[in-house]
Amino acid sequence: MRSLLLLLPLLLLLVSCETKPTPEPINYGKDACAFCRMIIADAGFAGELKTKKGKVYKFDSIECLAGFILSGGVGKEDILAMWVSDFAHKGKFIRVEDAKFLVSDRIRSPMGLNISAYSSEEDLKEAFRNFGGRIMSWKEVLNYVNEKWKDRLSSRH
């Protein structure tokens, strides 16, 4: 038992040095979405959340990341960082607060709310020119998902 106690600080050390604000890579085709359970397939829409303790949640779509937070999957105070895929540069993760969002029915996302994210203003504008839709901030995305999935989010959690 004493040896176990000696192990604890060591483990804590190991655990604590994990928590860097960098995203873990997603294993497309293998990892499942933490919210909707679907296999994450499309590098254009994936999202990720890391807690302060270093636990990682992966999502197949931006709406699932939003839904996860809205349904209280993780408390706001426990969030270290959130990332979304840059639709214009597949496979590139950007911080949610640095991202600009577009909701367009012509860009179809895995969970049907059709939200895509961009890191640069030009990419956003080009997508908007090509596909139309509504440009949103992260806060507006949260409201939009909350509105769209109202019954699901309220009745389930």
């Binding site: 085709g29 499942a32 359970r37 959690h157």
Partner: protein, 417 residues
């Protein structure tokens, strides 16, 4: 010489149309009409275009009239890796007997072998679709039949960018029957499709799902076979689905399952066979769904029910030789599990009423641990866990208190009778 032939054909066509009858236009490399595009141009609503054997490379064929497009003698229409092959925008179109190969691909657009957009009463039957990005794609369609097509996608192991075999989006009253689909992302994909039937299809070797089904209410799928798909079958965010008589086989892998039920309410899963899947059924956020008279045979887990699933009924199923019968992450059991046959049940039936005298506890300690904390999966086959399990079985303290079948059956349920 050629010009003369076309002229003769034109006269013929004109005569027919003047007669006011639906006419038939033949297309073949040696016919007066050599191009399908031309034939469509020449046709009117109600006409039939018969495409004879040969290879046709004509870019995208847009069918904007209510015609029948019939292949005879195995004509091949080639998208040359660049084009959407056939796009149907008119109602009452029939596409039959064609072989459609090599559609274009795109990062942004969903390019298909046969796409139906905003049309009613279409019939897509008996076609062969090979190596297309999307194969058959219906958007905003109504009352269509997709029947007896043979579809093989371009799936190469590790490649992510392939589309679905039969993809149906925003549609109503669709019949998908007797198709064979392999090598796509999802074999069959339903999103916002209502009052439809999926029957007698075989979907195997697709890299994500055999069937992927979202936001599609009041549909039925019966007598299909879903085999060796990457992650199995996913039925999600839907009310009132009927799933009957299907086979879910050999969907095996770390994050694979036979059937994922995610946020499914008031639905029925009956008379299905789950054979050798990592997980037979995974239930997440389901309510008032009945799982009745199914066979769970040699799966890793027959059934995983998460604590967020309530008021479901699991009744009269056969659990035969699964590594673990039921897994849950909850001490409570907000679902009814009763009158199932469990091959691991070791109780007696002294009063001979066909029901075992002591309850059966289907949740093993390892299952409970893994559901609560996936990291503990490294203890699979650990002797320590086996010992704990025996302790748990003799003096239940941690789990299974309320997860039990109080009326386990002594004999298999013979639901096939």
């Amino acid at each position: 010489m050629e010009g003369q032939a076309i002229f003769k054909a034109l006269i013929f066509v004109l005569l027919l149309s003047f007669a006011g009858f639906p006419k038939t236009i033949e297309v073949c490399p040696a016919c007066p009409v050599k191009s399908i595009k031309r034939a469509i141009e020449l046709s009117e609503d109600g006409d039939t275009v018969v495409v004879r054997g040969g290879v046709y490379r004509e870019g995208t064929l847009i069918v904007n009239k209510s015609i029948k497009l019939l292949g005879e003698g195995n004509p091949v229409i080639d998208g040359e890796g660049r084009y959407e092959v056939i796009r149907i925008t008119a109602d009452n179109v029939v596409v039959k007997g064609l072989t459609i190969v090599d559609s274009g691909r795109s990062e942004v657009e969903d390019i298909a072998g046969i796409k139906v957009e905003g049309a009613k009463n279409c019939v897509i039957e008996g076609n062969k679709l090979k190596n297309n990005f999307w194969a058959i794609y219906l958007a905003n369609a109504r009352n269509c039949r997709v029947v007896n097509n043979w579809i093989k996608g371009p799936f190469i192991v590790g490649e992510v960018a392939s589309g679905n075999g039969i993809h149906i989006w925003h549609a109503k009253s669709i019949l998908v029957k007797g198709n064979y689909i392999t090598g796509h992302r999802d074999g069959i994909y339903f999103e916002f499709v209502e009052d439809s039937l999926i029957e007698g299809n075989t979907s195997e070797g697709n890299w994500r799902y055999g069937l992927h089904f979202m936001f599609s209410h009041r549909d039925r799928y019966v007598n299909n076979t879903f085999r060796r798909n990457g992650a199995g079958v996913a039925v999600m965010y839907t009310k009132k689905v009927v799933m009957e008589g299907n086979r879910f086989e050999e969907n095996w892998g770390g994050s694979s399952y036979g059937l994922l039920l995610k946020a499914i309410d008031d639905s029925v899963v009956r008379h299905n066979v789950f054979f050798k899947n990592t997980t037979g059924i995974l239930m997440d956020e389901c309510q008032r769904t009945r799982i009745e008279e199914n066979d769970f045979v040699e799966n890793g887990w027959a059934l995983r029910i998460w604590a967020n699933s309530w008021n479901n009924v699991i009744r009269r199923n056969n659990f035969l030789g699964n590594t673990f019968d039921v897994a849950t992450n909850s001490r409570m059991n907000p679902n009814r599990i009763e009158e199932n046959y469990w091959s691991y049940y070791r109780g007696y039936d002294l009063n001979r009423d066909g029901v075992g005298d002591i309850p059966y506890r289907p949740v093993k300690l390892f299952s409970y641990m893994v559901e609560n904390n996936p990291s503990s999966a490294v203890l699979l086959e650990s002797f320590f866990v086996e010992v704990l399990n025996v302790v748990e079985e003799t003096m239940p303290v941690v789990i299974s208190v309320s997860v039990e079948d109080e009326r386990p059956l002594m004999r298999r349920v013979d639901w096939r009778r």
